[in-house]
Amino acid sequence: MATVRIPPVLRPKTGGQAEVEAGGADVGEVLRSLTAEFPDTQEQLFGEDGELNRYVNVYLNDEDVRVLDGLETAVKDGDTVVILPAMAGGRA
């Protein structure tokens, strides 16, 4: 099982949980386990073509999966998958 870190904007879709345990052999499988458990996260993570949305960054531990093997990046037990959309708050 991997630990998936849920960003603040997605927490309403995961019942408020900031971390979710999800199984899978690679990053894509882990994220699909997440969307199976919390279907409302599907359209925010994936486009209609099944690819990750461009505005969602996904890291395996501390590395962007875009510089690894993308959704095919292998995941080991105990790894952390970080979902990170951009945030812009600060001035108001």
Partner: protein, 396 residues
């Protein structure tokens, strides 16, 4: 203190001009054996402070190589002679004491790093800075000469401005078109109850001038857009991004890459914050990290979703820390690193951010975009209409 002449006789003494030749030739460890307050007044460039009482404890750090050429100096040559003898006993093989000390050095017209440009009041005010080897008098003078532009005098801008002003950053520019509101005061610590209704830039200027008269505050009471951003940014060394909307963040990024100016960027929401430092062409830019912004429904603002007040303080002071390091050239700024802070669990997470070779702004094949296109991104028009009209400014 009595001088043990039997030891002093065995040490090598050199004249200031001989020392200067060796120092200019390089490969010399230069040790200042005086007290911190003397060192602050004036010292030789490159001289490392090791006060006599701390010699045994600190010399190994200041001069780790016992075989290296090591030149000691003090005020007039007595304390350095004693220290030289002590170092020989500790096994240092190639030690010399500069006769006549820094007094004779200066009499001969040789240069020193002095607290020039700093008044006695400034030396007192910044003494806890100048005592740090990483800052010193040189570093404090750099801070006093630095010009930093803050985008936003609100949640992040308030604590950042507070600490930059206290640190003596000489010019602080503030961009904001908003006025102080009662709901700001839970986190925007440079404003206060009496100044509700006042432009934030003015309220911030009053606060900063009361805190530190050394700081010149420049008010940019308005909005940044593609037409004025280059002109506003031109006068500053570093920009601090605390904007609350994506169009401004992309606009600032594109302008900063164009002008080769570093940007310290943070954002906060709820109990979560993130911060990184973007130094154009040394590390990634904001577009390398976030090629496109999320759709409006996934980009909530603090006003709609709330933010823990102290989060602004935590992330804003981290921004101030990054700015000060960039000015001093000390330490490791957050270049190529994104730091996430989660306040409920009190956890920090660091992620790697890489330059995108295909980045449209700083990538290998990037062409300079026309000013009318600066700050735009794919689906910009759809984003901005979804977010409620023209948001190509820092307003929201």
């Amino acid at each position: 203190m009595a001088i043990d002449t039997t030891r002093v006789q065995t040490i090598e003494e050199i004249e200031p001009f001989e020392a200067a030749e060796e120092i200019n030739g390089g490969d010399v460890v230069l040790i200042d054996t005086r007290e911190p307050h003397e060192y602050q007044e004036a010292h030789l460039e490159g001289g490392k402070l090791v006060p006599p009482g701390l010699l045994a404890d600190e010399i190994a750090t200041a001069a780790p190589d016992k075989s290296a050429r090591t030149i000691l100096y003090c005020r007039s040559g007595n304390r350095s002679a004693i220290a030289a003898a002590q170092l020989q006993q500790l096994g240092y093989e190639n030690v010399a004491s500069m006769s006549g000390g820094i007094l004779q050095w200066q009499e001969q017209g040789l240069p020193v790093v002095a607290a020039h440009g700093m008044t006695p009041e400034q030396r007192e005010r910044y003494s806890r800075h100048t005592l740090l080897p990483e800052v010193g008098v040189d570093g404090q003078v750099k801070l006093l000469n630095a010009k930093v532009l803050l985008l936003g005098a609100g949640g992040l801008g308030a604590p950042t401005a507070l600490y930059l002003a206290a640190a003596g950053v000489g010019t602080i520019g503030l961009v904001d078109d908003d006025v102080v509101d009662a709901s700001n005061l839970q986190r925007q610590v440079i404003h206060n109850t009496e100044r509700i209704g006042m432009p934030k830039t003015t309220s911030a200027r009053i606060f900063i001038e009361q805190l530190n008269p050394d700081v010149k505050v420049v008010e940019h009471n308005g909005r940044l857009d593609a037409n004025n951003i280059l002109e506003v940014m031109e006068d500053y060394d570093i920009v601090v991004d605390g904007a609350d909307n994506f169009p401004t963040r992309y606009l600032l990024n594109d302008a900063s890459v164009r002008l080769h100016k570093p940007v310290v960027s943070a954002s906060i929401l709820g109990f979560d914050g993130q911060i990184s430092t973007f130094v154009p062409f040394e590390g990634p830019c904001y577009r390398c990290l976030y090629p496109t912004p999320p759709p409006a429904e996934l980009a909530p603002s603090c006003s709609a979703n709330g933010v823990l007040g102290v989060m602004a303080g935590t992330m804003g002071t981290l921004q101030a820390n990054e700015v000060i390091k960039l000015i001093l050239g000390a330490g490791e700024p957050l270049v190529g690193r994104l730091l996430l802070y989660e306040a409920l669990g009190t956890t920090f997470t660091e992620l790697k951010v890489r330059r995108d070779p295909d980045c449209p702004i700083c990538g290998e094949n990037a062409e300079q975009v026309p000013e009318s296109e600066m700050g735009k991104f794919p689906d910009y028009d759809a984003f901005c209409s979804g977010a409620g009209g023209d948001r190509q400014t820092i307003a929201s």
